[in-house]
Amino acid sequence: MITSGDENVVVANNVWKIFGDRAKEALEAIRKDNLSKAEVLEQYGAVVGVKDVSISVNKGEVFCIMGLSGSGKSTLVRHINRLIEPTHGEILINGVNVGNLNAEDLRVMRADKIGMVFQNMALLPHRTVSDNIAFSLELRNVDAFTRAQAAEKVIETVSLQGYGDRYPSQLSGGMQQRVGLARALAADPDILLMDEPFSALDPLIRRGLQDEFLALSKVMKKTTLFITHDLDEAIRMGSRIAIMKDGEIVQIGTPEDIVTKPADKYVADFVAGISKLKLIFAHTIMQPIAKYEKENGKLKDIDACPKADTEDDLDTLVGHAVGQDNPVVIMSDGKPVGIVTKDALLRGVQGEA
């Protein structure tokens, strides 16, 4: 059991969500008899959405939840602002149990603390971009002047200058999603929930928005839960990734963990097609100098070898290694600590550390 505090902004403890009239019975049965999803559906007419999920998201990190459709990732994220009530388990936000809030406190928390971005934007077509953006402030009865100022500020943040007085239908999909992002940022919330925000966009625009969001995220340091069905996106965006399947979390880890040490065959299959160049670092594939020298004889001329840092990725190492025959020497604190041969480099590209 984790309690959230300064470091853990969002914590979910053993969250279960079962849809159906007999959810509680079904939960008991699953815990006792370990029923499968299909059996629960057949015996209780209930659908398991989220199955015993515990996560803890650190302050300022981008935490990706990756899974295919129907894996329960969107359901899980809706528990955090209690759009969906859990069948069992608790959600803590800054140490406060969301399940214990009364209706008004919950609305205050949703408006002030949590911003949400939706896959289908869900903008209000009858309101201008500015009015859409300031919607959460309006719901808290903030006056029109302050709203306009706040909207102006975030419009700049998401580079939509000059579009404030247009209607959403006059904007392209990518720009509409900027409005969605701006709306989530308008109340300056601590937490961003992003439910497949870029999935509906075409690849080029998606890439651009990803980069912009990464840049923004570095500056704003908002704790972000980022839902995606695209592992590439998860790896680009996430400081950590949770992989979900059938409502359960299969693996949580950094992108490098996921790629180099997949927890099971499901994750391994996913990872198979992923480029490792930016995900595997020197410290993972290097061998100690002593071991290298035992096998290959003494390093003749350490000064002639290209040098790299332990935290450099494969891409950088390949850049050093091409055009000459010496192995790459990995340095730490000014001292050589390991060797990466070309064989190791090639194996690394294949994903075998």
């Binding site: 759009l83 609305r107 949400m116 869900a122 077509p125 009858h126 919607f135 959460s136």
Partner: protein, 515 residues
């Protein structure tokens, strides 16, 4: 040749006897080479017997009914030619009965010949359909089985004799049967045939006779307060049937309500009259030149040049044919009813759209309101509110409100779930969700509801002229009563122009309609 045989194999398996013929016919149907006038001779001759043998019950019923109708016509012919002989002394009856007799003979021949041709034409086509169903489900009837004829015999025995008996007899009148009932009560003996005729071939027999209820009146005492006075029904009057008894009970109930709760209905009447007077003051009280200018200006601003030209022409028609005041009268009624419809219909629609219970309570009521013929509304309106404009408005409101409720509810239900979810995620409370998200997004549907309300009000206001609501409808009802066709047609055109005018302007005024 071998392949040809193979092609026919499934057909033959299905058809059983005479498989070669059906196989070739089905093959023609599949190749689309079956003649347009292809007729199965066996089916045309065998008719319902053929259909029963082949187990095609749809065709069986068609064929059976055709033959039955032909037979009934024959029996009617016999009945009327006998009647012509029986009434030989009355010339006009002889002419009438002989004419009917000839008609029925012709009918019998036509139905029989054309019917048989139809059955023959349908037979193979229906049978091919049955074959296709049989391919999917082998329990569908196939082959030819004489056991099916047993069922035919049972059906024919149950239906045909009574049908033919009915057509060969003159049905007793309702009065004769009532007399017969009395006679039986007194213990007189009535021949079985008469009793059978009354029970089976006339009107559905009256099963219940109820004693007359007390006569109820609501006179005033010396202080002017009403009280209920019951007098037993006069001796010697016959008992009542269910219809008359229930009608009397309803009348008594309405009488009771108006006698003791009259202030309630008077209050509503007064409210409606005040409201109507205010509106009429605007429409009728304004000099025609200003009113016309205002209407043209409004339609120009809301709906543009083209519609304004149409509105101008319509107004000119109304004015030139002397309908101006009456038309304005009608418009006041329409405005009053539409306002009431919107004021009550919108909240009701929100309730129906947002709550399942609201939906299950209100929807059946709306269904009833829309199914009842509009004339029927006039009766309770008159019963409770007497005649004049206020009951006319009430009847109109009942008639015109359902679309407002329905379309508001529909609009609310069609607001995308994810838009509502987004509003909730940003902290909207239920009231904000309704006013800032749901109602604005439902606006096109709501405006369509308003348009419907206005149009239906206009049509009902015309009908309401029957209970003294006045306006254009009055001219039409009066023309109808006095068969003054010309006046009625002119007023009818006026009403149509008024309706089109209002419809075009309201539709164009709807800000969301253009998109």
């Amino acid at each position: 040749m071998e392949t040809e045989k193979d092609l026919l194999k499934p057909f033959k398996e299905f058809a059983g006897p005479n498989g070669e013929y059906y196989g070739n016919t089905f093959l023609k149907i599949q190749k689309d080479t079956l003649g347009k006038f292809h007729i199965n001779i066996a089916a045309a001759i065998g008719s319902f017997i053929w259909a029963a043998l082949r187990g095609n019950w749809l065709l069986f019923w068609i064929a059976f009914l055709i033959d039955l109708v032909a037979l009934i016509n024959l029996s009617l012919m016999a009945k009327y030619s006998q009647a012509a002989i029986d009434n030989a002394e009355k010339d006009f009856l002889v002419v009438r009965y002989e004419g009917w007799s000839a008609d029925h003979l012709l009918g019998a021949i036509l139905v029989f010949i054309l019917g048989r041709l139809l059955v023959g034409w349908l037979a193979d086509r229906f049978y091919y359909n049955q074959y296709n169903k049989w391919r999917v489900n082998r329990s569908v009837n196939s082959g030819s089985k004489s056991s099916r004829l047993v069922l035919v015999a049972v059906i024919a025995a149950l239906i045909a004799p009574l049908m033919l008996y009915r057509s060969s007899q003159f049905a007793p009148e309702a009065r004769t049967c009532i007399k017969q009932d009395r006679a039986i009560e007194k213990g007189e003996t009535v021949p079985f045939k008469d009793r059978f005729d009354c029970a089976i071939i006339g009107e559905f027999p009256t099963l219940v006779w109820l004693d007359r209820p007390d006569e109820i009146t609501y006179p005033r005492d010396e202080n002017g307060n009403r009280y209920v006075e019951r007098k037993p029904a006069r001796e010697g009057l016959p008992p009542l049937d269910l219809n008359k008894y229930a009608a009397q009970a309803i009348d008594d109930g309405i009488g009771y309500l108006t006698a003791f709760y009259g202030f309630f209905f008077d209050g509503i009447t007064a409210f409606l009259r005040t409201m109507l007077n205010m509106i009429t003051a605007v429409f009728v009280g304004t000099p025609w030149i200003i009113a016309m200018g205002a209407i043209l200006a409004i339609s120009y601003v809301l709906a543009g040049t083209r519609i304004t030209i149409f509105v101008g022409a319509s107004l000119a028609y109304l004015a030139l044919f002397g309908f101006w005041q009456t038309a304005m009268d009608t418009l006041s009624l329409v405005a009053a009813s539409s306002i009431i419809c919107v004021v009550f219909g919108l909240p009701l629609g929100v309730w129906v759209g947002k709550s399942t219970r609201g939906q299950s309570i209100v929807t059946p009521i709306l269904d009833i309101m829309q199914t009842i013929p509009s004339f029927v509304y006039l009766l309770p309106a008159v019963a409770f509110f007497s005649i004049g404009k206020p009951p006319g408005i009430l009847a109109t409101v009942i008639f015109a409100m359902p679309p407002m409720v329905r379309l508001t509810a529909l609009g609310l239900r069609h607001v995308p779930e994810n838009t509502k979810e987004a509003a909730l995620a940003f902290g909207a409370n239920p009231r904000q969700l309704l006013t800032k998200v749901e109602l604005p997004l439902a606006l096109p549907s709501i405006m369509a509801g308003v348009n419907q309300v206005v149009m239906m009000s206009l049509s009902m206001v015309v009908v309401a002229a029957l209970i003294g609501a006045g306006g254009m409808g009055f001219i039409v009802t009066e023309a109808l009563a006095n068969t003054r066709t010309g006046a009625g047609v002119l007023a009818g055109i006026g009403i149509a122009l008024l309706a089109m005018m209002v419809d075009r302007v309201v539709q164009k005024a709807n800000p969301t309609a253009e998109k």
